[in-house]
Symmetry: C2
Subunit: 134 residues, 2 copies
């Protein structure tokens, strides 16, 4: 059983090719994510990842790893604090803040940090349900 | 310029093949999204889309359509109210709730509704910035 204050972390990175595939799949072909010359004219100076691609690590971890198979995703908030860059190692961290054991639900703080600089790029909170682990 | 109470809507659908591509790209290979036989054993009875794939329409619309190019995404919350199904028409709707014209920011209510049943499947709120349209 998962307990209050339990934590989990997961390291990940995305390539430019994956950003291109995400753009095609979702239809979000904003040139900020795809075009180096265009991105150079923006405040970001270089192509940045879609926030939704970066934050999809929350869905991956909840569905596959922590709590894992059988998790039902009820809520997620995301503050996009800083741009996420391609070919950069990020760490997603999770901490169980509250558990409602009658409803099998947990409130989880979710965060993504640049592994090199230690700076937080996305913060948020999730509500998940798991019939046996919560 | 975008004004308070302005609305926008956008119809979309995803196929099973797109769900498979999203799973491979994000690493979220939860069988609930991919395996018909497994999904039949769950409360959903059939494969459902990743909530993050459905909600990615918010990113697409903000980046491409409303406000469009130049939008900077600051926050998004999502309540996954009901499962989203493949090969089903959904409508994403947006309404401008507040504008901070000094900071060029808008708070936007975001919603996804099943076009056939009229039932809301995701609701949330976004904070976006656009240097000239807000």
């Amino acid at each position: 059983m998962i307990q209050i204050n339990d934590t989990y972390s997961h390291t990940f990175r995305f390539t430019q090719a994956e950003v291109v595939r995400f753009a095609a799949l979702t239809g979000d072909e904003n040139p900020l994510h795809l075009d180096k010359d265009y991105a150079a004219t923006t405040i970001f100076k270089q192509p940045i990842m879609h926030g939704f691609l970066g934050a999809s690590v929350f869905s991956k971890v909840f569905g596959m790893l922590f709590p894992g198979e059988g998790t039902i995703y009820l809520k997620q908030s995301m503050d996009f604090l800083r741009p996420m860059l391609i070919e950069t190692d990020y760490e997603a961290t999770f901490e169980i803040k509250e558990i409602d054991s009658e409803k099998h639900r947990a409130t989880v703080s979710t965060s993504i940090t640049d592994k090199t600089t230690g700076k937080q790029v996305i913060k948020g909170e999730a509500l998940v349900m798991h019939p046996t682990k919560l």
